[in-house]
């Protein structure tokens, strides 16, 4: 089961029902050799079920899973070249750390010296040589997690499966351990599937992320694309912080929310298109919002006031009320002080209709472009207000 000579993972049209509930609805996904792929999604989206089918703990109703060009769909877990790290680590409390790690090697009837060498090497890799003779109950959460990782890695699997392995750790330790996992994964070049519901975790360690919802993959792309260009309304709302409001396109910007508040947007193409007069779901990142003191410009229609400020140390999150029923969140520098009236503008925005991304603006060039099948028709600037916009 060497990590060499593998072609990566290929999942094709995987489906699974549990009782009357269709949990996974035709998932297809590929992971290149040495790639770390995250399955990201809310509880019940089917990510763990998918992982368990890859590991052989569940049989798919239809579809196929192949690894290194070999179809493993029907193989039982013990015959798959995969190794899994479970959410609760699943260490065996009656065995020492050494025996936990060596168990799989003993099953393969390897010579004792080779078992010792491999266990020592992997324990060294995860910095647990000192805990070799301890039982899992005498280890901290982080150490238990590393034992579980060592137990998986010692088998040199073609595919490493991680089922929310950091969810039981505290925030600081979680960051440390995920960096260790990433470093080891890259060093060994093991194809890895990592299940998590934590977007920060997924964005920070993945080569590619599959965002799942309702048993389907909403988007499968690299972290940057996923963050900057979410292809569906669901992904836009799930990954990162995003202002999403109902709005209409008008000359020089957009009107948002039930108040029809005008927010300027420096996007020439958007202004030229003008819009079709219909309503869009307008999404923009908090870091794409400019908030400045209004000073004496009291006549501006997009004046607002800062309702709340939350300091995150190196940056500040502010909630700006731009209308009676419309608020916008923004990230600002830590030293920005906005006590009086403010004006708000948006540098970059995304437009969604029927849940799909239709338009993406590019502030650097002042141009945007329609995406997918739907384009913005030309027309005059619109100023009518939307009935249902609100801060999501």
């Amino acid at each position: 089961m060497s990590a060499q000579n593998t072609q990566g993972l290929e999942i094709s049209n995987l489906m699974k029902r549990l009782g009357d509930n269709a949990v996974v609805k035709g998932i297809s996904l590929t992971a290149r050799r040495g790639e770390l792929v995250c399955l990201l999604g809310p509880s019940g989206c089917g990510k763990t079920t998918t992982l368990r089918m890859i590991g052989g703990f569940l049989s798919p109703d239809s579809g196929s899973i192949s690894l290194g060009g070999l179809d493993i769909t029907e193989l039982p877990p013990e015959r798959r070249p995969t190794a899994m790290v479970f959410q609760n680590y699943a260490l065996w409390p009656h065995m020492t750390v050494y025996k936990n790690v060596a168990f799989g090697l003993r099953l393969r009837r390897l010579p004792k010296t080779e078992i010792n060498d491999r266990v020592d090497a992997v324990l060294k890799m995860v910095n647990l040589v000192h805990a070799k003779d301890r039982h899992p109950g005498a280890l901290s959460g982080g150490e238990q997690q590393r034992v579980a990782l060592a137990r998986a890695l010692v088998l040199e699997p073609q595919l490493l499966l991680l089922d929310e392995p950091l969810s039981n750790l505290d925030a600081k330790l979680r960051v440390e351990v995920r960096e260790e996992i990433r470093e080891i994964q890259q060093r060994l070049a093991i194809t890895t599937v990592f299940v998590t519901h934590d977007q920060d975790e997924a964005l920070s360690i993945s080569d590619r992320i599959a965002v799942m919802s309702g048993g389907r993959i909403e988007q499968y792309s690299d972290p940057d694309s996923l963050y900057r260009r979410p292809e569906s309304r669901f992904v836009a709302g799930f990954v990162g912080s995003m202002n999403i409001l109902s709005g209409r396109i008008v000359a020089g910007g957009i009107t948002l929310g039930p108040d029809g508040v005008f927010i300027p947007c420096d996007d020439a193409v958007l202004a030229n298109y003008g819009g079709d007069g219909g309503e869009w779901e307008v999404a923009f990142r908090l870091e794409d919002v400019d908030v400045q003191s209004a000073g004496g410009l009291t006549s501006l229609p997009h004046r607002g006031s800062v309702a709340r400020q939350v300091s995150h140390g190196h940056f500040k999150e502010v909630l700006v009320e731009v209308g009676e029923h419309t608020s916008i969140r923004a990230y600002l520098g830590p030293d920005v002080d906005l006590s009086g009236p403010v004006v708000v503008s948006v540098r970059r925005l995304l437009l969604y209709r029927d849940g799909a991304l239709c338009y993406e603006s590019h502030p650097a060039s002042g141009r945007g472009q329609p995406t997918g099948g739907e384009s913005l028709p030309g027309g005059a600037g619109l100023t009518s207000s939307s009935p249902s916009g609100s801060l999501r």
Binding site: G55, F57, E78, A90, P93, H94, F103, L107, A138
Partner: protein, 299 residues
């Protein structure tokens, strides 16, 4: 202050200890002395009705033990007791594990139904169950009737045999076994089993190497408690078993009541007690080990 607190704690536990000491410990002690040849004092009443008693003017004598252990009937009953106990415990363990494991692994309706069904004998009085089992397997019973109807009039029956005692003991003990093993398995996360499969263990290997050690204490409890229960059982072997050899419980009762030999009967009780202690050793070891592990983990 500390002394008073400790004294208060001791006073709190004193009543049950006194009750056990007076009503259990003292009778055991005088019975043990009686078997060693001391017929007077608290044993004078029972010795007044006993036949073939041995007395000593010295510290103690083991003559009664020698006589009883030399008797063929007793030897046969001792062997029968051990045999019935070993076989019953083994079958109870296998059945309990099989039912509990099936329910734990499949988590299916059938598994839950089997577990619920296995507990039913607990609610049926042993006397009624024993007579039912006897009627089912004995000479005029269901098995014999069906066999005769199928043209096998000489089909063997199990009525009043040690095999039937084993069957009845299994009936009595399986509910406790299933409850304990199921409860123990319920505390093991399925991922512990899956992790073993994941690193290459077959179902049998994963069960043997992971589930059994992780569920060791309930298994030992079932083994020991079932063993002690079968060894000391009276109703089942008395109603469905043979007259001789029988289990030590009925054997001692018969020696006491029919032969009026209380000293010999009490020697049999001491032998039974000795066997029970041997059976209890694994339980004491497993409990000590579990406590030591939990203490080590707490540190």
């Amino acid at each position: 202050m500390r002394f008073l607190r400790r004294l208060g704690q001791l006073l709190m536990v004193a009543p049950p200890i006194l009750v056990i000491g007076v009503f259990v410990g003292f009778p055991i002690a005088i019975s043990a002395i009686y078997t060693l040849g001391h017929l007077g004092g608290p044993n004078s009443a029972v010795s007044a009705i006993g036949l073939h008693q041995v007395s000593t003017k010295g510290l103690f004598t083991l003559k009664v033990y020698k006589d009883v252990f030399a008797e063929r009937n007793f030897q046969a009953s001792l062997v029968a007791s051990v045999w019935v106990t070993v076989v019953s415990v083994a079958v109870v363990l296998v059945l309990s594990w099989a039912i509990a494991l099936y329910a734990w692994r499949t988590r299916s309706r059938l598994g839950r139904a089997l577990t619920a069904l296995a507990v039913v004998p607990m609610f049926i009085p042993v006397v009624i169950a024993s007579y039912s089992i006897l009627q089912f397997f004995s000479y005029g019973g269901f098995v014999k009737t069906v066999a005769s109807a199928l043209g096998m009039p000489h089909f063997p029956t199990l009525g009043y045999s040690l095999q039937l005692v084993v069957i009845a003991e299994i009936w009595v003990s399986v509910p406790f076994g299933v409850l304990m093993i199921s409860s123990g398995l319920g505390g093991i996360p399925p991922s512990a089993f899956e992790a073993a499969r994941d690193v290459g263990a077959s179902v049998v290997r994963a069960t043997w190497k992971i589930l059994v050690p992780m569920n060791l204490l309930p298994t030992v409890i079932v083994t020991c408690f079932t063993g002690i229960s079968v060894l000391g059982s009276f109703t089942v072997p008395y109603l469905v078993g043979p007259t001789t050899p029988t289990l030590l419980g009925p054997e001692a009762t018969e020696t006491f009541q029919s032969f009026a030999e209380p000293q010999q009967a009490e020697v049999m009780a001491v032998a039974l007690f000795g066997l029970s202690i041997i059976v209890a050793v694994p339980y004491i070891w497993a409990t000590y080990r579990a406590n030591r592990t939990s203490r080590a983990q707490a540190l």
